[in-house]
């Protein structure tokens, strides 16, 4: 018995030692991303050297705004508003459920009706928005609010890109995030702040009306 245990131990060590090979996980994802970047229409400067000189952030992304009435985006916007209203009520699990709805709305969304340009832009927004929604599902409420802040920009861009049939208000509270401010979309004019909830429910003003 003792002998066989020693034998096992020696074998185990040999095996682990042999496993120290290096691995290249990045190659596949590299080439995939490359293709994506090449097909992107609004990035003139994706060479990394140039990017460094320009500073990554200087290049503003341009989305031509549409006034088109579009009901295809309604499930996405409704789920977003559900998250917003839950955060107004300091309701973490409500926000989680809204984010779950949003993920479903994204996967149900029919992309075949998009033009080629819209599709590229939509995919770019989608990747980020899904990630925010996934985090809202699993995070405590202060992180839900941080991801909601990022998500708002994505949803706003989806609306600019594809349009909506709804009347919405883009609202802004300058105090959120150490006075950097935070925006959100609302279905009502009245200010109900999702970033502070009951602590500061009425901080904010209307920046823009959509439809």
């Amino acid at each position: 018995m003792k002998k066989s245990i020693y034998l096992l131990a020696v074998l185990a060590i040999t095996f682990t030692a042999c496993k120290n090979e290096t691995k290249s996980t990045s190659e596949a994802s590299h080439s995939k991303e490359m293709v994506k970047e090449e097909s992107g229409h609004d990035h003139g400067n994706h060479d990394h050297g140039d990017m460094k000189e320009d500073g990554m952030m200087s290049e503003k992304r341009e989305i031509t705004e549409t006034n088109q009435k579009n009901d295809a985006t309604t499930p996405i916007i409704d789920a977003y508003l559900k998250i917003k209203n839950a955060l107004v009520n300091d309701d973490k699990s409500g926000a989680t459920s809204g984010a779950t709805d949003l993920l479903k709305a994204f996967s149900d969304f029919d992309m075949t009706k998009l033009s080629k340009e819209q599709h590229t832009e939509y995919m770019d927004i989608l990747e980020n928005a899904q990630e925010q929604a996934e985090h809202i599902v699993k995070s405590p409420i202060d992180h839900q609010r941080e991801h909601f802040d990022v998500l708002t920009e994505d949803i706003n861009d989806i609306i600019s890109l594809l349009g909506t049939e709804k009347t919405l208000y883009l609202q802004f509270c300058p105090m959120y995030n150490n006075n950097k401010g935070g925006k959100w979309l609302s279905e009502v004019k009245e200010i109900k702040n999702p970033y502070f909830g009951s602590k500061m429910l009425t901080c904010g003003s209307i920046k823009k009306q959509i439809n």
């Binding site: 590299h30 970047e37 990035h43 990554m56 925010q132």
Partner: protein, 152 residues
């Protein structure tokens, strides 16, 4: 009688411990160049980059510096799991491949995780003492991110 059982159980555990050594994990190591690393994609000051390399890259890049105990099971499973999750969330070596939109949200998340002391993970800094961030180091990263985002 009881002693006999204890002996058997200990022996059993010992055997299990040895057997699981036969299932090593694949190490997170790559010898490829990293042309899409954050240091290439953005202008990262040297002190900020040092913070990233020391405190973040073990789980958020394609190369982990493995301590000796990570070569023993179940330690390496535990670590492999953390690394897989960490890389999926943010991979500094792939940062340049992210879309602008994603780069921006990743930077925001880096700042908020560091600000709230959620990263680097406590279980990690417990063992890697030099990875834990001082207030000054945290501030360095936060300021850097803040300036970058202002120019967006």
């Amino acid at each position: 009688m009881i002693r006999k059982y204890v002996k058997k159980i200990l022996l059993g555990l010992f055997v299990v411990l040895i057997v699981i050594q036969f299932f090593p994990v694949e190490y997170n190591r790559s010898e490829e160049a990293t042309p899409s690393d954050i240091s290439t994609a953005l202008q990262v000051p040297a002190d900020v980059q040092t913070i990233f390399t020391t405190s973040c890259y073990d789980c958020h890049s394609n190369n982990t510096k493995y301590p000796w105990y990570s070569k023993i099971q179940p330690g390496s499973w535990f670590m492999a799991n953390h690394i897989a999750e960490g890389k999926e969330e943010l991979n500094f070596n792939e940062f340049g491949n992210y879309s602008k939109r994603r780069q921006k949200s990743k930077l925001k998340s880096i700042a908020s995780q560091i600000k709230d002391d959620e990263m680097p993970l406590f279980s990690y800094t417990l063992i890697h003492r030099n990875a834990s961030l001082s207030e000054a180091q945290k501030q360095k990263v936060l300021n850097w991110v803040k300036n970058l985002l202002e120019n967006y």
